[in-house]
């Protein structure tokens, strides 16, 4: 059974490992990955554990904290090697910052990055928790590969955004922000897209080869399409040897409705 590593230093790694929006480490775990996709999620805390996995997810969390912990235990060389070998890596939120080649808005002194993804990311583009939000993102590429609706429920928590990308990078989703917001966050940076009236777009999901990055948190929602999209990247790399089952449009029919984020009021 193929193993998917999840970098388990800090943040929402349990959500990724369980493939469930919000679950305990009890019996919910592995349900999604094992039953639906035929793979198993495992925690990665040390460099040597990376040798056992074919692909890696870097979860959401505080990127400065994760960078510190990676530094304490000397994970950066192993992570860079992993990316360089062309193995599939997916970063969500803090993970996106990890994968970016360049970042702004960092803490004093900056932070170490893994790199590999040719883009410039703004660490805390949308601001503090009061500016955190949820929105329906248009995701044509995801919908064409995985079926389902044309939109995806994107949860942005003190989220980063991608300001510019290199030529190799495929943009999978973007999000409009008012131009004045852009100026507030980036006094020195000129927008690289043409100014369409009072709105500009920031990029929130990209793919470059075997690197996938999202500024929002698919692990916090019950929609599993990004997870299966990533897994297909992983199987394409491995060749046809995998036993991954078909997922997509019929996914909803085969399983009971999962409990989404804890919701009550």
């Amino acid at each position: 059974m193929a193993l998917v590593g999840v970098l388990a230093l800090q943040g929402s790694y349990n959500e990724h490992i369980a493939g469930m929006p919000f679950s305990s480490l009890s019996d919910h775990i592995y349900v999604f990955w094992v039953l639906l996709l035929g793979v198993k999620g495992v925690e990665i805390k040390k460099p040597e554990q990376l040798e056992n996995v074919a692909s890696l997810i870097i979860p959401g969390g505080e990127s400065t904290t994760m960078a510190k912990l990676a530094e304490y235990h000397n994970l950066f060389p192993a992570l860079r090697e992993f990316v360089k070998m062309g193995k599939p890596v997916w970063g969500t939120c803090a993970g996106l910052i990890f994968l970016a080649d360049r970042a702004t808005g960092q803490k004093i002194g900056g932070q170490e990055l893994v790199g590999g993804l040719d883009c410039m990311v703004h660490r805390n583009f949308f601001g503090s928790q009061l500016q955190s939000f949820e929105t329906e993102l248009s995701v044509p590429e995801l919908a064409s590969k995985e079926g389902g609706p044309e939109v995806f429920r994107g949860v942005f928590i003190r989220a980063p955004a991608i300001l510019e990308v290199g030529p190799q990078v495929e943009v999978l989703a973007d999000y409009p922000v008012p131009a004045n917001k852009w100026k507030d966050s980036n006094p020195g940076v000129e927008g690289h897209e043409e100014n369409s009236g009072s709105e500009k777009k920031v990029i929130v999901a990209v793919r470059q080869g075997n690197l996938l990055a999202t500024a929002f948190h698919p692990e916090l929602t019950a929609d599993t399409r990004w997870h299966s999209y990533f897994l297909k990247m992983a199987t394409e790399t491995e060749g046809a040897s995998s036993s991954v089952v078909a997922v997509g449009a019929d996914l909803d029919l085969n399983q009971p409705t999962k409990i989404d984020l804890p919701v009550f009021l």
Binding site: H28, E62, E134, L220
Partner: protein, 311 residues
């Protein structure tokens, strides 16, 4: 967010709400989920906040006095000066939390206005209202609240808390109360999981918690929001103990900056929370940390119990 609160139980037992404000609560819980597996440190100025950030804290709690000093100095403990909180916000990129008195919703409004990331409605500060907590649904900003047992946790969640922490006994450097509260919550959840659905009504009545949240807890096998440990954590071993007991992360109050070497101890506690299951790493990081904070014996009648201030 006022005016909603209708809860529907669907056929498969999944509980959700029928209002359109779902996303607001999801976003509040979302930040707490990003803090999982991390350490939140109490800091009293920008310099300490920078030390905490460099140590790897996933958030800081901005305060005028740490709980140990509140105990020593007595008097009324209130919300911190907003100026101080603003300075701390400027100094770091990680989330900044701040404490408001229980029931003092105007302090919470002020904290929301200056844009902190989370409000701790805390029993460590002097109470403003003996009977009522803040109605946290009225705020866009998320709240964390303390609890001693499952009933108290679920009452706070019903009031709108998006994150729960154990109360422990803040400022004592003594982990016994935090352990008691964790054991109580986790034990009750284990009992609940094995309970017949028909018995849940009476159980909910017994712990004085809303039925729908009790049922959701039973289905999830855990609290429906992120659950941190707090109150008395002073060493890496204390922090790892909390994680092994099933917590999602740890608040460290006086334990870091009241110790001999805050830089080293802060960093050690952060590593202990990540590698809580690896005794070799725990042994490594526990070496040579210098003096721990002075502990208080809770059998001493002169030590006030903060945890008993609210229900």
């Amino acid at each position: 967010m006022a005016g909603s609160g209708v809860v529907a139980v669907y056929g498969n037992g999944a509980i959700t709400e029928s209002s359109s404000n779902k996303s607001a609560f999801a976003v509040k819980v979302g930040l707490a989920q990003m803090l999982r597996g991390g350490v939140i440190m109490d800091v009293v100025n920008a310099e300490q906040a920078r030390i905490a950030e460099e140590a790897g804290a996933c958030a800081v709690m901005a305060l005028e006095r740490v709980p140990a000093d509140i105990r020593a100095q007595g008097g009324v403990a209130r919300m911190s000066d907003p100026q101080l909180i603003k300075e701390i916000k400027q100094a770091v990129t990680i989330p900044v939390m701040a404490k408001a008195r229980i029931g003092h919703f105007v302090e919470a409004q002020i904290l929301e206005a200056i844009g902190v990331d989370y409000v701790d409605e805390s029993e460590v500060l002097t109470l403003a209202d003996e009977d009522n907590h803040i109605n946290k649904h009225n705020f866009q900003i998320p709240f964390v609240c303390g609890c001693r047992n499952l009933g108290e946790a679920l009452r706070r969640i019903r009031e709108g808390a998006a994150m729960i922490r154990t109360k422990g006994e803040a400022g004592t450097g003594n982990v016994i109360e935090a352990v008691r509260h964790v054991r109580s919550v986790m034990g009750d959840i284990r009992v609940l999981r094995n309970m017949d659905d028909d018995e849940v009504f009476t159980f909910a009545k017994k712990i004085a918690a809303p039925y729908d949240l009790v049922m959701q807890t039973k289905q999830l096998g855990r609290l429906p929001v992120v659950h941190f440990a707090a109150g008395g954590v002073a060493t890496p071993a204390d922090a790892a103990l909390m994680m092994q007991l099933g917590m999602d992360g740890v608040f460290v109050g006086s334990g870091v900056f009241k110790s001999g070497d805050p830089v080293k101890r802060g960093r050690a506690i952060v590593q202990a929370v990540t590698h809580y299951n690896d005794p070799n790493i725990l042994a490594d990081v526990s070496c040579g940390l210098g003096e721990a904070m002075v502990g208080l014996n809770l059998n001493d009648a002169k030590v006030e119990r903060f945890a008993n201030r609210s229900e």
